[in-house]
Amino acid sequence: MLRAVIVKEFRHLFRDRVSFLLLFLMPAFLVLMLGYALSFQVHHHDILVYNPVHSMEAERFFARLDANPLLQVLGHLERMDEIEPAFSQGKTRAVVMYGDDGLEVFIDGTNTFTARSVKSQIGAAAAQFAAEENPLAVPAPELRIRYLYNPSLKKGYTSIPGLMMLIFILVNTIVLGTSINREKTQGSWRLLSITRLGMGRIVFGKTVPFIAISILHIAMLYGVCRIFDIEVVGSMALFFFLQMLYIACCMSLGILISAWFDRPLDVLILSWVVLFVPNVFLSGFVFPLSAMEAPVRAVAQMLPGAAFVDAFRNIAFKGSGFMGNLPQIAILAGESVLALLLSIPGFKRTVPR
């Protein structure tokens, strides 16, 4: 008798797509991510250098920086006023200026983890350089650090974009997806389908309350920023546009999952497994993107969460404009459209239910 139960359970688990996903694909994903791809150890920081007095000493120091496996010198800046755009356009995490009055390092403070990491690497390189150049132990050049956008390295600058990214997935993908799916499994979906509304308007009608709730969450975000003294310096209109675009992307993905799966529980589990968990790990919110292996980073950068977090920091904290965030905006818009297009055949399936 027990044998029958065990055999039945094996069959049950292997034939249920969602159980199969949780039993095999999810552990494989976690092992791959936490065992191989993800690390708090940043592989390298992209930095720019500036040598205002064109000194040979500065160039030797820059060569020393470039020799550090954790730092990569992307190029030289020619003028002081190129520093700010280099950050706002997301070209670099740090700019090292070696002038007459010593070393000055500008570091992007919006991600406190990488800011501290890059500071420690440059500091170590400076100390080593001083020891090599100056064997008589004359004091090393003074190292002055300036954290841009987040001078006191408040952790809110790092956590708030990630939290908003996850809240929007929770509301607009998971709750919306299960809500649509619950209706699909009830007779009300069929009854609605034969009215003059049409599928598109039914789905749109269902999204409107979620849009309203998300706008409430955006208002809460502004409140939180004020409470924690986090300054939004960029265009509020562009910032709002980014959030609405990301909300649309989350909704489209929720609609896509609900279109192709027939049980609310499937939608719930799948949303967590396929969207929520990967975005926690791979969006740069918990683990820095620069700490990921190159192939994983390439995939991670295509995730809506990563695009959102990146553009959020650029627009809100660095004051970056539309063109500076075009790749992220293109990813969010493209994935929204693709998800909606793929959901159409899912809703039109002629499987009797």
Partner: protein, 224 residues
């Protein structure tokens, strides 16, 4: 026969290797109650969904006068709304004016004695009331064709009888009704029967012409 309000000609539908409906043809006259009788999986629901436009047939044609009223298998209203809210919601979707919807809501409430359940979400209503309410919502747009997919499934005999009274009353007003059922006794409430087996029409006619008794009716399916 007067001009049919519904006409299906050689309608077929296949799902993978299963031929759910196979060249099924039938017509429905105004005021007629057509019983679509068959065992579970006979193809009744698939045929009904094609008539409603929910599924596209692989071949054949379906013509319906206007949009049909539809009561699907299982409960079809929004469970988290009250009866009045459901009526107002579907009234709006069917394009009824606010005044007309309120009038209908009052009529339905009086008819079904819903006062006792006023303000309660429909998921807390007894099954018989829920099905009766679904029926009332299905006829909200005054359809020329009413399609009822196993409307009495799971109902006690009293609730079944009450629902059948409502169906016959509606048919008396000129609405053509298709009722699918697997209850043999309900066959004799219909004005005409169409027996479906493996997606095919195996017999059609007045109930007593098709089978004099439920036992005789059963033999159709045993030998189909």
């Amino acid at each position: 026969m007067s001009t049919p309000v519904l006409s299906a000609h050689e309608v077929s539908k296949r799902f993978g290797s299963i031929q759910a409906v196979d060249k099924l043809s039938l017509e429905l006259a105004p005021g007629e109650i057509l019983g679509l009788l068959g065992a579970n999986g006979a193809g009744k629901t698939t045929f009904i969904r094609m008539v409603c436009g929910l599924i596209r047939p692989d071949s054949g044609t379906v013509q319906v006068s206007g949009r049909p009223g539809y009561m699907c298998q299982g409960f079809s209203l929004i469970e988290e709304l009250t009866p009045e809210e459901n009526i107002r919601f579907y009234g709006a979707l069917y394009g009824l004016s606010r005044k007309e919807t309120e009038r209908r809501a009052a009529d339905i409430s009086a008819r079904l004695h819903l006062d006792y359940y006023r303000g309660r979400q429909v998921k807390y209503l007894p099954t018989g009331w829920r099905q009766a309410l679904s029926f009332c919502v299905a006829i909200l747009p005054d359809p020329a064709v009413l399609i009822l997919d196993e409307p009495t499934s799971g109902l006690d005999s009293l609730s079944r009888r009450r629902l059948w009274e409502m169906i016959r009353e509606r048919a008396a007003q000129g609405t053509g009704v298709i009722v699918s059922t697997h209850y043999l006794d309900e066959a004799y409430y219909c004005t005409r029967l169409s027996l479906v087996s493996a997606g095919r029409l195996i017999a059609s006619g007045a109930p007593r012409e098709v089978a004099a008794s439920e036992e005789e009716l059963l033999t159709y399916f045993k030998h189909a």
